[in-house]
Structures are given as C-alpha cells and as structure tokens.
C-alpha cells in the first residue's frame, strides 16, 4: 500500500510539473514573439461593456493602426468580478500589462501591491502631467506619487425631459429648466411638476436604494461642506453628523412627499419611456438617452441645493499592474497608450464621460456633440473620496445599508447617521 501511495504522489508531482511547464512555456512564447518582430504586444484588461466597450474597442483599433510598433490586446471582464480577478491574477504573476481602475478603488490596489507607480516611466515617455485636469489628476496621486492616468470623470448629474418640463411651464426660452438653485427652489420645482403633470408621471425618476441615492446624498453632504466621512489619516470615522443628517433629511422628504415613485424597480426605464420629468445618475446615461427614439432630454449639473457646488464623481483611470519582468520598453509603450487614450477623450466621451484633458474638451469633435458641454464644468467640482483602501467597503457595508432604511422611511436620518458610524469604524479597523 505504501508503494502505491508513493507511486501516486509521483504521479501528482509529475502532473503538476507538467502544468507549470505548460504555463511557463505559454508566456515565454509570447514574449519571444514580441522580441523577434520588434513589435510590443500588451495585454489590456477592461471592465467596459455596452457603449463604453464599443468606444474602447474603437480607440484600441485606432491606436493599433497609428502605432505600428505596439499592439494592444483587449480582454473584457465582467464589471462585478473585475477587481477580484485582477487582484488574484496579479498576485499569481499572471496579470495584464495594462488595466483599468476607478480612482476610488486605486488606494486599495496600491496597498495590495497590484499597481506600480508611474513617475519614472512617465518621465521616460515624456508625459506632461500638466495637460490633465488637476482636480481629476490629484485624486490619483497618493503620497506624492502618480499611480494612474485618469481618462475621464463620470460625475453625478441631472437629466430632464424637455417635453414634460414644457407642459409644466418650467422650461425656459433657452431650453433649460426654470429652477431656483436652492433647497426650497428644488422642492418648489418638484411640487410644480407634481401639480401640473398627470398623476402617472413621476416628477423625479429615482432609485429607492443603494448607489444613486448614495451619490445624491454624498453630493448634498459635500455641498454643505462635508469633507468625506473619514479622517485625513484614514484611520477614524469622521462624519459631520449635523451635515450628514441634514442631507439625509432633505432626501427623505423628497421620498415621503411623493416626488419619487416608491421602490421603482427600474427608474432608468421610467425616465426613458417619458414617465419621469427629471432623473439623476452618472453621466454614462447620456449615450443611452441619445439612442432612445423620441426622448427629448437635456443634461445639467445637479442643482446647487446647499452652500457650494459639489457632486459625487469617480474616474476611470489606466494603471500599469505589477508584472513579473517589469519590462521597461513595455511599460513605456503602455503609458504612451494611456496618454493617447486621454488625448482622444472626445471619442471616449461618446458614452457621456467628461474627458480628463482640457485639450480634448476644446476639440471641435467634442463641441459638436450635444449635451456634454452642458455639464463639462462639473469636472472641476467633483468631490472625490479620500484615498482610503476601504472606500468601497465603507460604502457597501456600512453607509448604503442605513441610508436605504432612511429612504424607505423606516429610520430617522439622525439614527441612521448615528448607527453607521460604529460600522464604518469596524470596517476601518479590520
């Protein structure tokens, strides 16, 4: 019996060596190929689907055509599993040469040792950091080092249905809503819509839980002067209770006054089908509304409801993940690609995003597109979260959970704010 066991172990060992030999062979092959022809092949992992995915494909095709020495190969991964796959693959040494990260997720990737810092390779490739929108760029700088190339920002904005606003007498001569930028002004605007429009029209098409209400809450909280919900050293919860409660109370009233259809299963559809007068979400919806027949809509920054202009926002950035060989030529090619994508932000903007380079915004091609120029100013007032490694966990596990109860009318805003703080601290302590 012992002999058999030994035999089996040998088999197992032999098989596993075979496996590792295979994978080793695979990667050395491709590297060899690139060295022979003098052409650099770079693997690129993205999380873009739909319109975003098509625009990125178009950009890659254009880049490959105009850069004969570099070839970018795109692998599209599922949004929900993207980060898990990226982190594990890089951990195994099988990660891509180029990847995508949200600005808010970047600190986590830095801490886990997934991304490399870019200063030396950016110098070598001659990247001009000053050509980027500084508000977006600064959010990707951690401890004075650059870790990512922002290619856009996708802030939280407001869309409105022109026909419905016209019916309610709230559309000005210039095609923009007649809306006083204040807390009372916005409520008056919504009450007028509710009064003047038929009962089956929702004044404010909006989600009743999770992300978009969180984004509005974050926007209002920062409009009041709130500065994130954690301390500057990222170790403690630091929530301005009064401001957080005021923002939550303001929103709870919007729900309880019937401006928002309760538990709407699909508020995008409500707006798209012309059953909602206004709606708020990220700029990525612009492309969808444009391709909807018969929807006459407009876009604008969310109103300044409180003291200062501010909005929730995030950016897509291009990162260079840690690789086994850290090949300098490959890295230079990769950052050249990233900078080129940012330069051609007018193509990327087709889905609705705001380009990260002012020069892309100045291009005629960008100006010729409708709607984008109406909200492009938001890029300067986006309030990013602080560079905590726990941003997503805090949002998903502590904040949204309690805010959802507020929107449902089951919890007082002050109680929710009080309850979420120990949970945020728990996430930070882990």
């Amino acid at each position: 019996m012992k002999k058999r066991l030994g035999f089996m172990l040998t088999l197992v060992l032999a098989f596993s060596m075979l496996l590792s030999a295979c994978s080793g062979g695979g990667s050395s092959n491709s590297e060899g190929g690139s060295a022979d022809s003098g052409k650099i092949t770079l693997s690129y992992w993205t999380l873009f689907t739909g319109g975003d995915g098509e625009n990125m494909d178009a950009l890659i095709a254009e880049f490959n055509k105009t850069h004969p020495n570099i070839e970018i190969k795109n692998t599209k991964l599922e949004w929900a599993e993207y980060y898990t796959k990226l982190i594990t693959a890089v951990g195994n040494g099988n990660g891509p040469d180029i990847g995508i990260s949200h600005t808010s997720r970047l600190p986590d990737l830095i801490e886990q040792g997934v991304v490399t810092e870019l200063d030396s390779v950016a110098d070598a490739a001659g990247i001009e950091w000053s050509t980027y929108n500084q508000n977006l760029l600064n959010a990707t700088v951690v401890d004075g080092k650059h870790y990512a190339i922002p290619i856009d920002t996708h802030p939280f904005i407001m869309y409105y249905n022109k026909k419905l606003l016209q019916d309610a007498g709230l559309l000005g001569e210039d095609g923009k809503p007649v809306l006083e930028q204040s807390a009372e002004g916005f409520v008056t605007f919504l009450s007028t819509l509710k009064e003047k429009l038929p009962a089956n029209i929702t004044p404010f098409a909006f989600e009743s839980k999770d992300h978009d209400p969180f984004r509005l809450w974050w926007s209002l909280y920062t409009q009041l002067g709130g500065n994130d919900i954690i301390s500057d050293d990222l170790s403690k919860v630091q929530l301005d209770e009064a401001k957080a409660t005021q923002a939550a109370q303001y929103m709870q009233d919007l729900y309880s006054n019937g401006f928002i259809k309760k538990n709407d299963p699909d508020f995008y559809k409500t707006f798209q089908s012309g059953a909602g007068a206004i709606m708020m979400t990220g700029v990525w919806a612009t492309g969808t509304w444009e391709s909807t027949n018969g929807l006459e809509f407009g876009a604008m920054p969310i109103p300044k409801i409180f003291d200062q202009e501010a909005a929730w926002g995030d950016s897509h950035t291009i990162i260079l993940p840690v690789t086994k060989d850290e090949d300098a030529a490959k890295r230079e090619a990769a950052i050249t690609f990233a900078d080129w994508i940012a330069d051609n932000g007018q193509i990327w903007a087709k889905a609705g995003h705001i380009p990260s380079k002012p020069s892309a915004i100045e291009k005629q091609e960008f100006k010729d597109m409708d709607y984008r120029s109406d909200y492009v100013s938001v890029a300067d007032t986006v309030k990013f979260s602080k560079p905590s490694t726990k941003n997503w966990q805090i949002r998903d596990l502590a904040v949204m959970k309690y805010l959802n109860e507020v929107w449902a009318g089951k919890m007082q805003p002050a109680d929710a704010v009080a309850n979420m703080q120990p949970e945020i601290q728990k996430v930070l302590d882990q």
Binding site: R4, M8, L11, V12, F15, T84, I87, T88, V90, G91, D108, Q112, G113, V114, S208, K209, K261, K262, N263, D264, P265, W392, Q393, D396, L397, K401, Y402, N404, E405, A408, K410, V427, Q430
Partner: protein, 285 residues
C-alpha cells in the same frame, strides 16, 4: 487493487479540488490572508473574532430560519403534489411534467423569474392582485423590501423551484407501495382518508427521512436566490451565512476569516447530520 486504477482519475481530481483545498482552508483560517497572499500568522484570532461577530451569528440564524421555513413546507407540498399526480386521471402525465418542470431551471433563471413575479408596479403578483381587486389600484405591496414579506417571497420561490425533485422521489415511493395492501384495506371498508393516514403515509417514512436530511443540508447552503432577489436586505435581515462568508472573503478581502467562518458552518452541518443519523438509526431499530 485493480479497482484503484479505475478510481484513480476521479480520486486525483477529487483530492486536487476538494480534499486539498479543505486542508489548505484549515491553514488559511489561522492566518491573516488576503486574495493575493498570506500576511501573517494570527493563531486562533479569527475564531475568537467569530464568537464576537454578531453579524455572523445573525446570518447563521437567517440560514436556520430559511431551513425552518422551507423544509416542512417542502415535504408537505411534495406529498400533496405526488398524491395529485398519482391519482388515476387523464391529466396524470400533464401533472407530472408540470410539477417537475421548474426544477430544470438554473438557480439564476428561477431567481430572476422571482424578481419579475414579486417586484412592485409591474410584477406578476401585484398585477394579479390589482386585477382581481384584492389590492386597491393606487397601493403596492413591496414584497422584496419588507423583511417578513421578503422571507415569504423567497420561500415561495424556492418551493416552486425545487419541489419538483422531492415530488418525483415521493411519486416513485408511492408507486412502490404494493397494490394488494390498498385492495385489502378497501375490502375491509377503509375510507380514503384512513387509507392515506394508515397506509400511504407510514409507507413513505423511509423516503421522508432521506428527503428531510437532504433538504436541511441543501437549505442551509442557500445563497443565490436570496442574493439576486433581495441582496440580503433590507438592512441585512435576509442575508444568509454563505453570503456573509462570501462578502468577508471576496468583498472584504479577508480569506483567513472567511475560512474560519466556513469551518464553523461545516461544524454546524456536521452536528446536524450526526444528530439526524442517530435519529434515523434509532427509529430503524
């Protein structure tokens, strides 16, 4: 010895993908371990944290609640359906296929159908209630946003989706009951209900014990239908233990702690199975 050669291919896969990860998991549970790498040895810290972790124990309770809600209802429903399909009738074949059909759906498909049935405004159930006038036109029932209603929705969906398998087991067990016992009973003048309570039900005892055991273990592993239909909400009040373990491991990036929680769940299931095994053997004597 010859058998070993035939067993070897499966054994190899089994060891590589089941036994080895199980051993590795024990090691993991003693470490702080992220998706990328081992960080540091923490001894029994993960297990100590678990005892303090109220979120874990409430999620264990939710899974337990799901077992309590689904197991008895599942058995009763499966017996009723099997009785209906076992009656001599022209619709016999129709019943059999209709009752079994939902079981062929994958869990994701079944859960999305569940969403369409229970969602407000456009969902099948609320529209139906509006149609027959049980629900006033301007009111909505939020099946998936109220804790108790959410449990009802999840239980109904699970029953509809999985009862078919148990139904088949009961049906075949019923057909194994010898016809002459029924004949003798009828000659003695037994009524239909007497026949059911005195003959059919006792003869199904063995299969009922098997189904109960399988059902308890299957129900304890519930995750996907709840995740899709309610996401564990509202306020984590329907979050089952598997979802919690998954969140800890893959959302909070703490595989070590997730491994420790998994072994706790393993221990709970082991105790349950052992108890049931003991119960069955005692009855068998």
């Amino acid at each position: 010895m010859q058998a070993l050669i035939f067993l070897l291919p499966f054994l190899f896969i089994y060891v590589l993908f089941t036994i080895w990860p199980m051993i590795k998991g024990v090691e993991m549970s003693f470490y702080k371990w992220t998706l990328i790498r081992k960080i540091e040895y923490v001894g029994l810290q993960n297990y100590a944290n678990m005892l303090q972790d109220s979120a874990f124990w409430s999620s264990v309770w939710h899974s337990f609640l799901f077992v309590v809600l689904t197991t008895p209802t599942m058995i009763v429903l499966a017996i009723i359906l099997a009785l209906v399909a076992n009656r001599k009738s022209r619709l016999q074949k129709f019943y059999r296929s209709v009752f079994f059909l939902p079981s062929v759906l994958s869990v994701a498909v079944a859960s999305y159908l569940g969403l369409f049935i229970f969602q407000p405004y456009t969902g099948l159930l609320n529209s139906l209630l509006h149609l027959i006038g049980l629900l006033p036109g301007n009111e909505e029932i939020f099946w998936l946003s109220e804790t108790s209603l959410a449990w009802i929705a999840i239980t109904l969906l699970t029953l509809w989706w999985t009862v078919g398998f148990n139904f088949i087991l009961y049906l075949s067990a019923m057909q194994d009951i010898p016809e002459d016992i029924y004949e003798a009973a009828r000659l003695d003048g037994a009524s239909d209900s007497q026949i059911f309570w005195q003959i059919t039900l006792p003869m199904l005892g063995g299969i009922t014990r098997t189904i109960t055991m399988l059902q308890i273990i299957a129900s304890f592993k519930v995750f996907v239908q709840i995740y899709i239909m309610t996401g564990g909400g509202p306020l984590d009040s329907t979050r089952p233990v598997i979802q919690y373990i998954w969140q800890i491991g893959f959302r909070q990036n703490d595989l070590g702690y997730a491994a420790a929680l998994s072994y706790m769940l393993f221990a709970i299931l082991l105790v349950l199975s052992a108890f049931q095994y003991w119960l069955n053997n005692r009855k068998g004597e």
